[in-house]
């Protein structure tokens, strides 16, 4: 079946520094759809950004990610972390455009310190 791997369980960084969260995936589908969801403390997950186009940068709220099918990766990046970016980030995979029946990674917790 499909799987999503997030290698970092916890990322701690200082405000203003860049952040990159790793996401790789395995799927039998040639046209997967990849998503990043963010969950702040005591809130529910919400969509941050998504992509299904190979080698095209997708941006939202200062974050960006590029789907690379050659390496099965969809890493999330931000050039300058803010305190409000402290949250749990999930990479997810779907086989169809509607984003339904998602397969999630285990999540990466980001802690941004002053």
């Amino acid at each position: 079946g499909d799987s999503v791997t997030q290698t970092e369980g916890l990322v701690t960084l200082t405000e203003g520094l860049p952040v990159m969260l790793n996401c790789t995936y395995q799927t039998i589908y040639s046209n997967p759809f990849l998503f990043w969801y963010v969950q702040h403390l005591n809130e529910s997950p919400r969509l941050l950004l998504k992509s299904f186009t190979d080698n095209k940068r997708t941006e939202h709220q200062g974050f960006h990610a590029t789907l690379h099918k050659s390496s099965s990766s969809f890493h999330l990046q931000k050039s300058s972390a803010q305190l409000s970016d402290s949250a749990l980030y999930y990479c997810a995979l779907s086989e169809d455009f509607a984003g339904n029946k998602l397969t999630f990674g285990i999540g990466t917790r980001v802690l941004v310190r002053p």
């Binding site: 079946g1 759809f33 809130e43 529910s44 997950p45 919400r46 969509l47 998504k50 999930y90 997810a92 169809d96 455009f97 509607a98 984003g99 339904n100 029946k101 998602l102 397969t103 999630f104 990674g105 285990i106 999540g107």
Partner: protein, 114 residues
């Protein structure tokens, strides 16, 4: 803004007891989902539904049943609750047409099985 509500928000149950978690959405979405969230496992799909009267098994359906009596409501039923089912449960809805390809999550239900 899409609206998904869950009840109860917190529940303490005894081992062997029956637990019903309820979810209501006012988005008129066809698809609804139940996930559980556990540290080290991320979000895992339990059951999902494509519309009223339909239920499908997700990735971890054992020990759970689901019921979709209407477009708006989707319940998760634990007939014989066990301590291993202690978790945070999220309901989500999603549009199957692809025009609004986002899953909207409810606020979650914290379940403790003693």
């Amino acid at each position: 803004e899409a609206a998904v509500t869950q009840s109860p928000r917190n529940k303490v149950a005894v081992t062997g007891g029956k637990v019903t978690l309820s979810c209501n959405q006012t988005n008129n979405h066809n698809n609804m989902y139940w996930y559980r969230q556990d540290t080290g496992h991320g979000l895992r799909l339990i059951h999902y539904s494509y519309g009223a009267g339909s239920t499908e098994k997700g990735d971890i359906p054992d020990g759970y049943k689901a019921s979709r009596p209407s477009q708006e409501n989707f319940s998760l039923i634990l007939e014989l609750a066990t301590p291993s089912q202690t978790s945070v449960y999220f309901c989500a809805s999603g549009d199957a047409t692809g025009l609004h390809d986002t899953q909207y999550f409810g606020p979650g239900t914290r379940l403790l099985v003693l």
